[in-house]
C-alpha cells in the first residue's frame, strides 16, 4: 500500500443556496479543489462522488456522469463513481478513493460530496432524513431520525446522569466556532438558554439541538504522497482511513448509548496511525444532534463513557483546547448537506493543518481526526490526517 496525501481542497458555502442547483454546487467545489491542487484535467484518473439521496431530493439517480460532464471532463472518459452510505456517503467515497490511490491503481483522484436539501419542502426533507433508519421496522411506525437520537439522549441522561445543559453546550460551542467560519450555514452565536428554550423537536431535543438541512458540496484531491510535493507545499498525509458497521436498526444494538461502529473504526485507525486519542489536536466529529457529539467524544475514547457531558460543561473542546472539537462549527453550525459532510470535515482539518482556517486556526496543530456517521451509527468512517513536515 502506498502512502496517500491530500493535495487540494474546495468547498461551497453551506446553507440555503436558493439560486444554485445540485450540479452547480458539485462543480463549484470540484473546480475549486482542482485549482487548489494546481492539477489539470489530464492529471485526473477518476472521480468519486458521495451523495445520499439525489434520487429522492432531485429525482436524479446516476449523478456521476452529470457531475463529470459539467466539470468539463466528459471528453476524458474517466471513471466516475457514485457512492451511497446515508449521511456517510462522502466519507465512504473518500475511503474508496483512498484505497484506489493506496493500491497503486490510480494516481490522482478527485473525491466530492454534494447534497441539495432545499429543493424539497422541510416535511419531505424530514421524511428523507429518516429514510436512513430501517424503513420497514422503524420509519413505518412513525420513528423519525430525531426521535432515535432523542431515545439515545433519554437513555444517556438516565444512565450517566448527563445534563440537558451539557447537550446545549455542544450547540453553543459549535455555533461559536461557526461564527468564525465564512462558509458556515450558521455564523451566529447562541446561548445555553436559547437552546433550552428552543421549540421541541423530539424531547429532550429542541430545534437548536439539531443540525440544519443544508445545501453544500466539498471536494478533495488525492495523490500518492511521494509525488504530492509536485503539486503543493503542504500535502496532508492520510494516516488512517477506516470503516466499521453495525445493525441498521437501532433497537437491535446491545447498548444505544454507544456506537460500536465508532469504537471499532477509531481503535483500528489509532492503531494504523500509531497514536492514541490524547495525541489528537483536532477532531471533526458527528454532531447532527447535540447528544451525538457527546457519545462520539466517548466512543472515540477522548473521555470515558459518561464523562463527555461533564467535560463540555467545564468548557472543554473549544478552539485551542486539545483536542479542539468541531472547529468548523460541526454539522450543527457549519451545516449538514448529507453527502458532503464527510468531505467537508476533511476539508476543515486540511484547512487547519495548512493555516487556512481564518480566525479559528488552532496554532501548532499536527494531527486531526474526522468521524462521520451514516444511519444511526450503522456505519462509522474515521480518517486520521497529519501534517507532513
Amino acid at each position: 500500500m502506498r502512502e496517500v496525501a491530500i493535495i487540494g481542497i474546495g468547498e461551497t458555502k453551506f446553507g440555503e443556496l436558493w439560486d444554485r442547483s445540485f450540479r452547480d454546487i458539485g462543480i463549484e467545489a470540484g473546480l475549486k479543489a482542482i485549482n487548489d491542487a494546481k492539477i489539470t484535467s489530464n492529471d485526473i484518473n477518476a472521480l468519486y462522488i458521495g451523495t445520499m439521496a439525489s434520487g429522492s431530493l432531485i429525482k436524479q439517480e446516476h449523478v456521476s456522469p452529470i457531475l463529470l460532464d459539467y466539470a468539463g471532463l466528459s471528453s476524458d472518459h474517466i471513471p466516475s463513481i457514485r457512492i451511497e452510505a446515508g449521511e456517510a456517503s462522502g466519507a465512504l467515497a473518500f475511503h474508496q478513493a483512498y484505497l484506489a490511490v493506496a493500491s497503486g491503481y490510480y494516481n490522482i483522484v478527485v473525491v466530492g460530496g454534494a447534497e441539495k436539501l432545499t429543493d424539497v419542502s422541510e416535511d419531505v426533507a424530514r421524511d428523507i432524513t429518516s429514510s436512513t433508519s430501517d424503513q420497514e421496522w422503524e420509519t413505518f411506525f412513525g420513528v423519525t431520525q430525531a426521535s432515535q437520537y432523542a431515545l439515545i439522549a433519554n437513555k444517556h441522561m438516565n444512565t450517566y446522569n448527563t445534563k440537558r445543559e451539557a447537550m446545549a453546550e455542544v450547540a453553543v460551542k459549535n455555533h461559536y466556532h461557526g461564527s468564525m467560519n465564512s462558509t458556515a450555514h450558521f455564523q451566529n452565536k447562541i446561548t445555553v438558554e436559547a437552546v433550552l428554550k428552543s421549540p421541541p423537536v423530539s424531547t429532550p431535543l429542541g430545534m437548536l439541538d439539531c443540525a440544519p438541512l443544508s445545501d453544500g458540496a466539498a471536494t478533495v484531491i488525492l495523490a500518492p504522497l511521494d509525488i504530492a510535493r509536485k503539486f503543493t507545499d503542504t500535502p496532508i498525509k492520510i494516516q488512517a482511513s477506516t470503516i466499521s458497521t453495525d445493525t441498521a436498526t437501532l433497537f437491535h444494538r446491545r447498548d444505544i448509548c454507544t456506537f460500536d461502529s465508532t469504537i471499532l473504526a477509531s481503535k483500528k485507525a489509532y492503531d494504523l496511525a500509531g497514536i492514541g486519542s490524547s495525541q489528537l489536536d483536532l477532531v471533526e466529529l458527528n454532531d447532527n444532534y447535540t447528544i451525538s457529539e457527546i457519545i462520539a467524544i466517548e466512543d472515540l475514547n477522548i473521555t470515558k463513557k459518561g464523562e463527555a457531558g461533564k467535560e463540555l460543561l467545564n468548557g472543554r473542546y473549544r478552539i485551542g483546547d486539545k483536542p479542539s472539537i468541531n472547529t468548523s462549527g460541526g454539522l450543527k453550525a457549519h451545516g449538514q448537506p448529507y453527502g458532503a459532510v464527510g468531505i467537508a470535515q476533511i476539508v476543515e482539518i486540511v484547512k487547519q493543518l495548512t493555516g487556512r482556517a481564518e480566525k479559528r486556526t488552532v496554532n501548532g496543530a499536527e494531527i486531526g481526526l474526522t468521524h462521520t456517521i451514516g444511519g444511526i451509527g450503522s456505519v462509522s468512517v474515521i480518517n486520521i490526517l497529519k501534517r507532513v513536515n
Partner: protein, 138 residues
C-alpha cells in the same frame, strides 16, 4: 408503501410475529433467515415465533416534529421497549395524555392500531403500538 410491500409483512406487524433460531433459541424481531450467532448453521432452521407483546419502556421521547401522516397525533410518544422475551423494539406508545407520566421501566402491552394510510383512497396500514393501560392484563 405499495400493497405487496405492506401485505407481505402483515403477520409481523399485526401480531408481533418474529422468528426463533432452532439451534440456539435466539429470538428475532423482525424475522431473520440467518441467525447472527449461528450464521450458516442456522439456515433452514429458523421458525416463526409469536411474541407476547408484554414489555417495559427502556427509553422514550415525545415527538413534536413527526413524519408525514402522523400530523393528527403530534406530539406522540416513541419508545424503545424491552419485551419480556428479552429483545427490544421501537414503537409508538398510545393512551398517553397530559396526566400520564411516562418513565423508563413503565410496563406496556402491545395494542393493534392504525399506523397510516396511502392517501384517502389507498390502503390503510395497521400494526402494533404499545399501551401502558393494557399492561394491566394478560
Amino acid at each position: 408503501m405499495s400493497v405487496s410491500r405492506y401485505w407481505r409483512e402483515a403477520k409481523s406487524r399485526y401480531m408481533l410475529q418474529g422468528s426463533k433460531c432452532g439451534r440456539c433459541n435466539r429470538l428475532f424481531f423482525p424475522k431473520r433467515s440467518v441467525c447472527p450467532s449461528c450464521k450458516s448453521l442456522s439456515i433452514n432452521n429458523i421458525d416463526n415465533f409469536n411474541l407476547s407483546g408484554n414489555g417495559v419502556i427502556d427509553a422514550f421521547t415525545y415527538v413534536h416534529e413527526g413524519l408525514t401522516g402522523f400530523e393528527m397525533q403530534i406530539p406522540y410518544v416513541i419508545a424503545m421497549i424491552k419485551l419480556e422475551e428479552g429483545i427490544s423494539i421501537t414503537a409508538q406508545v398510545v393512551d398517553i395524555d397530559d396526566n400520564t407520566k411516562v418513565y423508563i421501566g413503565m410496563p406496556v402491552r402491545m395494542v393493534f392500531r392504525k399506523i397510516g394510510e396511502d392517501g384517502k383512497s389507498g390502503m390503510i396500514y395497521y400494526g402494533y403500538k404499545f399501551s401502558p393501560d393494557m399492561a394491566n392484563f394478560g
